[in-house]
Symmetry: C2
Subunit: 292 residues, 2 copies
């Protein structure tokens, strides 16, 4: 990486956390053969064994010190752990190493990145893909394919660092979108964090009702399955996400509740023409977005 022309070719990349996201990244990078070495840090021994056995990584350890060799260090843990790990990574990373993360909220992470030593480069990252299952066992070399991958630069992020991050994203066939961290979190509250809480409340009601009628889940067809899918997401990952984007998420939940109350009242008062018109407008906006 001393030669900027060289880009990522021959670089050593370290991935901290071999869950769904980190594991999928390792598999996607492995498939490209661009890197000399992929090394991984994970506390779980059986995960490390599995990743080594399938050839996803060249080296794996539970010792963070291993990342001191890497040119690029990817933090792929839940958001709270990313924030906690950053000072430790900063203390051991080699000069000019690039630190990037895969966390779903960006403002608090970018703030923590600002405190890294000046000899290290950093940029926030958020690949907008995922599954409701977690762990290396769910990892998929094609998870990132065609996904939008947001990059949230720090004030001090250099153009070269951005270019290398973009090269990494292109390598895994994702699409780079450079965006301010605050703006990222405001949008993600609506498109990602709100849907998760909405799905969770739905699943909570359904579980409660299933205690009243044992046949309830025999009725759960594709509509219920899709609307509740996000509720199965990893609880630690999701509570870190909503709590590091608290103000935006609460604001969107309040706006959501207001819309829900309006619809509830139209149903309660059996206002058929207004209700139908409202559903029609909403249906058209949904059809327009996913027309492609």
């Amino acid at each position: 990486m001393d030669d900027p022309e060289f880009g990522l070719r021959g670089a050593t990349i370290a991935i901290i956390g071999l869950g769904l996201m980190g594991g999928s990244l390792a598999l996607a990078l492995r498939a490209t053969k661009t890197y000399t070495q992929i090394i991984a840090i994970d506390p779980n021994e059986s995960t490390r064994t599995q990743a080594l056995a399938c050839g996803a990584v060249d080296q794996a350890s539970d010792d963070l010190l291993l990342v001191s060799h890497a040119n690029v260090i990817v933090l792929a843990t839940p958001v709270r752990a990313i924030i906690d790990l950053l000072p430790r990574v900063g203390a051991i990373a080699r000069d000019n190493a690039i630190v990037i993360d895969l966390g779903s909220t960006k403002r608090e992470i970018v703030q923590a990145m600002e405190t890294l030593p000046a000899r290290i480069q950093a940029v926030g990252g958020h690949p907008m893909c995922g599954k409701e299952t977690s762990g290396f066992g769910s990892a998929d070399a094609n998870l990132y394919r065609n996904a939008v991958f947001a990059l949230t630069p720090l004030t001090r992020t250099t153009a070269q660092t951005l270019a290398i991050a973009q090269a990494l994203i292109e390598t895994i066939s994702a699409q780079t979108l450079v965006i301010d961290a605050e703006r990222h979190d405001a949008i993600a509250a609506t498109t990602s964090h709100l849907p998760f809480v909405v799905a969770s409340a739905l699943m909570a009601v359904a579980s409660e009702q299933a205690n009243q009628d044992e046949w309830l889940f025999r009725f759960a067809a594709s509509g219920f399955r899709d609307t509740s899918r996000l509720a199965a997401s990893d609880a630690t990952m999701m509570s870190d996400i909503v709590l590091t984007n608290r103000a935006n998420v609460v604001k969107m939940l309040r706006q959501y509740s207001a819309h829900l109350e309006t619809l509830t009242q139209l149903i309660e008062h059996a206002d058929a023409p207004t209700l139908r018109a409202r559903f029609q407008t909403i249906a058209e906006s949904r059809q327009k977005i996913f027309r492609r």
Copy 2:
């Protein structure tokens, strides 16, 4: 049908409404070659032309009188139209004809069926499958495959009528579930109608926010897509459904809002341990149901 042993073989079946559900039923029945004739009533000329051209039906008309020949009459229109059509169908159907419907709510339909002349048999039906797209163009011969198909008998529904309805359901590879109409509507409020309203409110908030930030829908990945999918459903169909199951739907919306408010407050107060535990319980209940 004069010979009960004969069951459905050689019967003439009439489908009123060639939308997604009626059209898919015609295609599924056609594939089995069990029937002498499949006839269809639909007000839309191009739909009728299309259904005749692809061989889904043998005869099609906009004149309801055509159903007077049928042994089995299937009402496949939105719920309100089913209720409005029933007296007209009752007036012209042949003796011992069986009337069944595909509406998503059952209590009001079964009540309307009770007023049919005694010379006609009837049973409520609800196939628990669908798509967010509508119309004959979306019809699919495999839509009913493996779906649960609820049958809600009237007090006067005979065992023979139930057996014939069940034979029809088996023909299209769906699974019969005989259930009381009131119980059906109470369950469907949670598993089907609530998810639709929940998805609609989500889409309404997202549209509103998209006016604030033009990049919003660039962030809409699989999570948003799935959670909002039902919001694209046909507005007339859905307003008929929620309004004919009003008390149950409003009750479930109130319970849903209470759960959502609890989650919102845990986020607002940054109560990480309680929030994480709550998400964990919810995630486990979701994982348990869709483990298969």
